[in-house]
């Protein structure tokens, strides 16, 4: 029975190691100042920032100058403002986005997002009956 149990043990160890290393690699949702600090300590580590578009400042996308550069200003969940540069074309109806998650890293004076996760605002999207949900 011994070699068999040994193998089970090794497999369990591999499993635990996998999970721990994966959790070690995950990032937290952070605010812009934290993102800046993380970028200083650990350049290139991607972080997630929950962001709201600052509608008072211009959203700059000039496809003819650079099709892969979108610039805008956003607030994080603690209302810190930062300039954001996104390396893809401007998503459709971008100005109407309520909330988005930026994935990327802080770079000097701006947050450089390589990915923006968003759910489009939809006036019809609702959760019927959610208010009367069973608790």
């Amino acid at each position: 029975m011994k070699p068999f149990h040994l193998i089970l043990l090794v497999l369990a160890a591999v499993g635990i190691a996998t999970v721990i290393s994966m959790y070690g690699n995950t990032t937290q949702y952070v605010a812009f100042p934290d993102a800046q600090r993380i970028a200083d300590e650990n350049p290139g580590k991607a972080v997630h920032v929950v962001c709201k578009l600052n509608k008072a400042k211009p959203v700059v996308y000039d496809a003819q100058a650079n099709a892969n550069r979108l610039e805008f200003y956003g607030f994080d969940s603690l209302n810190n403002e930062s300039k954001v540069v996104f390396t893809k074309p401007k998503p459709a109806q971008f100005e109407q986005l309520e909330k988005m998650v930026l994935i990327g890293t802080y770079n000097k004076d701006h947050f450089l997002a390589t990915e923006i996760l968003s759910k489009c605002p939809s006036k019809y999207e609702d959760a019927p009956g959610a208010s009367t949900a069973a608790k």
């Binding site: 994966m22 496809a63 401007k90 999207e125």
Partner: protein, 881 residues
């Protein structure tokens, strides 16, 4: 609220149809309870008449489910928008073949689909399960109770049981009765306003979306059968006869589920614009998890069947696979994923009920595993553990207190749940441990077991990563969801031992093997695979060591199984099932490797206007311009643009068919030339955008399929999305035919070429054809002028050209000679100017080499599963005969 008034009678509602459907739901719910109770009693007492009644009740239940299906479909088919479900998920313009897709856009419809498959499986089991019918059907009927309760839609004050698909629009959305126009029409005539529905999600209006969800749901539904057999066997005090049946059904489940998962991937690849077929999205993972463990359970069942070993693991894995199906349902349907997934699911407020469903099954399993007094105590304990918090929650009235209570409940519940789980596994182990003699390393079961465990490891990683939103909710963490790269990094290495074991596992015999006999073929196989790999790695252009090893293992997997199959089974195809499934898996993984490692973004821009210096993620100056997702190219209309070996030309954009169409197709020609300048290859792709009022711009890719690669392209941006610059430099001229006139700055010269008069019900319409010339280029402008015969009012429709930056409008007509045949008319024309804009699109073009291997591998694998199932059924029949 005006409750004193008499109740309003609403006109034109087909209330009877909804009531009929609701009645069928309740009938199905009641019948499933009766059937479960009668089957249960028959198993306990062996009274034959009980089983006959149980059978009938279940058949009525199945008929009721079909009727609910028909009623819900009629509501959608006849556009009865007084029902919320029809209004929410369908519209008048929806073609009949997509109406079926409405079932899976809404949760109630998805549950209904699941109920339908389960009912079908139940009816099949009634015919074929023989002596196992009663205990197995108890589990199925129990699931039907839980699932149909999701549709019952009863409400007692705060407490809500299920959500009916036949709820009325005016009840779900009372705000709709307050819209101003109903003040004139009268509230009772609200249906005259709600003549069209909200429509089906545009992404679901796709051929693959008609067949992918039912396949996936059938896969989910079949997972209950091995589980039911496992429970039945435990109930009958650990009888062994369940194994062959559970094995057959687990193969059925793994085959269908695998097909369903890849179908979803194919849909994503063909109609979504993320550029791939798998993104490790939680919703995808939710369906992958049961598959991984079902595949592993099937292998454990084979071991148990052949050697009598590992009965405990067989039971455990079969059961976990079903629990993971429930967990997947909970993940995707409870809204807990929220922002973690791009698939949006609304919370129907059923998460409590779903959780209860999951716990009920665990409780059922625990009760069955225990014996005698312990069984009774477990039953009482579970009922107590469920009732106490529920009644407490009911009694506490103040909102703060209930919040604290839920915080406590969450912590305590999690602990209790874990204790329960550990105790259950312990009890299961005690009941089913058998034949624990030493496992020989030269036996097939040893290596099969090891392979199954690696599948479990793969599952553990997916589970841990996918459950992060759940942990966040439970413990208040703020961990972000891992990226696809995090998954790939781990899964790449876990797939390797799995492939290795799948290759040589077959060469060992059950119990023990004479190693001398397999040494030679294994060495030969290894050498052959290495040679093939060396040849193929240059063809596939795979040079990085870890990928070469991966490729080698996938090739070994294919070769080893083909050779083994041929040596042992020759042309008895029915016996080839396992080998063919393995070959398919190998081809699939090979395709995944080659298509993703050598995925080539043709539209990445190394040079040109697109280089803003940035630092890349490692802090280096990014000079290549690829690292940073510079993956999109701008194409001006009619201006050739080099995309690596191709030259792309954006030819034109075409509006979709129909006046109201919001679709736009962009024709882009791709030409590939050899060194002598001869065209080797040319084709036109038409990626589509849909300016969807509800969802924004949806880009549907267009893909050119070759045998050895795909060219995939989609539009990310187009010039009409730019903010329009207003016209200025206005100027007014009064001119006749053929007399050139210029714009304010003189950059464009225009002349009126011809006139077209037409009459319609509102009056006379005059359209001019004006030719505008600029730097040797010219364009036609066709402004319109409308004269309303009745009111005598004028109206005008200017014409503009973005490319020339000009507009022209007819302000008035001066008719000098009333004879229409004469051309003696003058027109007062206003012109305006702005900066010329060339039409352009921003596109991404990706080359996926050998992606067809992914689809081919899947098909081969499904064929393998099918053969294995047929062969196992045949063998079982021979055994019983």
């Amino acid at each position: 609220m005006n409750q004193t008034q008499a109740p309003i009678v609403f006109n034109g509602e087909w209330l009877w149809l909804g009531n009929l459907g609701h009645a069928f739901v309740i009938l199905a719910f009641v019948m499933s309870i009766l059937s479960a109770v009668f089957y249960f009693q028959h198993e306990q007492t062996k009274n034959q008449s009980l089983q006959i009644w149980a059978k009938r009740f279940f058949q009525i239940h199945a008929l009721a489910i079909v009727s609910v299906f028909v009623v819900l479909f009629s509501i959608i088919f006849f556009h009865r928008y007084e029902f919320h479900y029809a209004w929410r998920h369908s519209s008048n313009s929806l073609p009949v073949y997509y109406m079926i897709s409405c079932f899976w856009e809404g949760q109630e419809g998805s549950f209904l689909l699941w109920l339908f498959w389960n009912a079908l499986i139940g009816v099949i089991l009634q015919r074929i399960a023989k002596s196992w019918e009663s205990p197995v059907m108890v589990v199925i009927a129990f699931a039907q109770i839980a699932l149909s309760s999701m549709l019952v839609g009863f409400q007692w004050g705060e407490f809500k049981l299920g959500s009916s698909p036949f709820d009325l629009l005016r009840e779900q959305r009372p705000d709709f009765l307050n819209i101003p126009i109903l003040g004139q029409l009268g509230v009772e005539n609200y249906l005259q306003v709600f003549k069209d529905g909200n429509g089906l999600n545009a992404l679901l209006q796709n051929y693959w979306m008609v067949i992918h969800p039912p396949t996936l749901f059938l896969g989910f539904a079949t997972a209950i059968v091995p589980f039911a057999y496992s429970i039945a066997a435990l109930w009958r005090n650990n009888e062994r006869g369940w194994i062959p049946y559970a094995l057959i059904w687990s193969l059925v489940c793994a085959g269908i589920l695998g097909l369903g998962i890849i179908m979803g991937g194919f849909w994503a690849y063909e109609s979504l614009s993320f550029g791939g077929y798998w993104a490790w999205d939680p919703v995808e993972n939710a369906s992958l998890m049961p598959w991984l463990i079902m595949a592993s359970a099937a292998h454990m069942l084979i071991i148990s069947k052949s050697t009598g070993r590992h009965l405990f693991t067989s039971h455990l894995l079969t059961q976990i696979s079903f629990w993971l199906v429930l967990y997947a349902t909970f993940l995707t349907r409870s809204g807990i994923l929220g922002e973690a997934s791009v698939h949006s699911f609304t919370d129907l407020g059923l998460s409590g009920q779903l959780l209860l469903f999951l716990l009920a099954f665990l409780a059922f399993a625990l009760v069955v595993v225990l014996e005698g007094k312990k069984r009774k105590w477990a039953l009482y304990g579970i009922i107590l553990a469920l009732l106490v918090p529920m009644s407490l929650a009911y009694m506490i009235k103040s909102p703060e207190a209930i919040d604290t209570f839920y915080q406590w409940l969450k912590g305590l519940g999690t602990c209790l749940f874990l204790v329960w789980l550990v105790y259950y596994i312990f009890a299961l182990y005690n009941k089913t441990k058998a034949n624990m003699t030493d496992e020989r390393m030269d036996s097939r079961e040893f290596w099969m077991f090891l392979g199954s465990m690696f599948l479990i490891l793969s599952l553990v990683q997916v589970f841990a990563a996918t459950s992060i939103p759940v942990f966040n909710k439970l413990f208040g963490y703020k961990t972000a969801v891992p990226s696809a790269a995090d998954y790939n990094r781990v899964q790449l290495w876990l797939a390797m031992p799995i492939m290795l074991l799948m290759s040589f596992g077959y060469w060992f015999k059950f119990r023990e093997t004479d190693l001398k006999t397999i040494k030679k073929p294994l060495i030969q196989l290894g050498l052959a695979s290495i040679i093939i790999t060396i040849l193929l790695m240059f063809g596939f252009e795979i040079y990085e060591l870890k990928f070469v090893i991966f490729l080698l293992l996938s090739i070994t997997l294919v070769v080893a199984n083909l050779v083994y199959g041929y040596q042992k089974k020759k042309f008895e195809w029915l016996r080839w099932g396992g080998n063919i499934a393995h070959v398919g898996f190998g081809v699939l993984l090979m395709g995944v490797l080659v298509s993703s490692v050598n995925k080539n973004v043709l539209s990445s821009t190394k040079d040109g206007i697109d280089l803003a210096p940035e630092v890349d993620q490692k802090g280096n100056q990014d000079t290549k311009g690829i690292k940073f997702n510079r993956e999109n190219q701008l194409l001006y209309k009619n201006k050739p643009q080099e995309l690596q070996q191709y030259t792309a030309i954006y030819l034109e954009d075409i509006k979709g068919v129909g006046v109201d169409s919001i679709d736009k197709y962009f024709k882009v020609a791709f030409v590939k030339k050899d060194k002598e300048g001869r065209t080797v290859d040319s084709f036109v792709l038409s990626p589509k955008t849909q300016n969807n009022p509800k969802m924004g711009l949806l880009a549907e890719p267009s893909t050119r399929h070759f045998l050895h690669k795909d060219i995939f392209t989609h539009v990310n941006y187009e010039s009409s999305m730019d903010r329009k610059e207003p016209f200025s430099n206005f100027r007014v001229d009064t001119v006749g035919f053929f007399r050139p006139f210029i714009t304010q700055t003189g950059k464009v010269v225009m002349s009126i070429d011809s006139i077209n008069r037409s009459m319609d019900s509102s009056g006379l319409k005059v359209t001019l054809a004006i030719k505008a010339k600029r730097l040797g280029d010219s364009v036609w402008l066709r402004p319109e002028f409308l004269i309303n015969e009745i009111t005598g009012n004028f109206d005008m429709k200017p014409a503009e050209s973005d490319r020339f930056g000009i507009m022209a409008a007819i302000l008035n007509l001066q008719i000098i000679d009333t004879n229409p045949a004469s051309q003696n008319i003058r027109f007062v024309i206003q012109t305006g100017e702005k900066t010329p804009v060339w039409d352009y699109i921003v596109i991404q073009v990706i080359e996926f080499p050998w992606i067809n291997l992914v689809w081919a591998g899947t098909i081969i694998m499904v064929i393998g599963f099918t053969l294995a199932v047929i062969n196992r059924i045949k063998k079982q029949k021979q055994l019983m005969a």
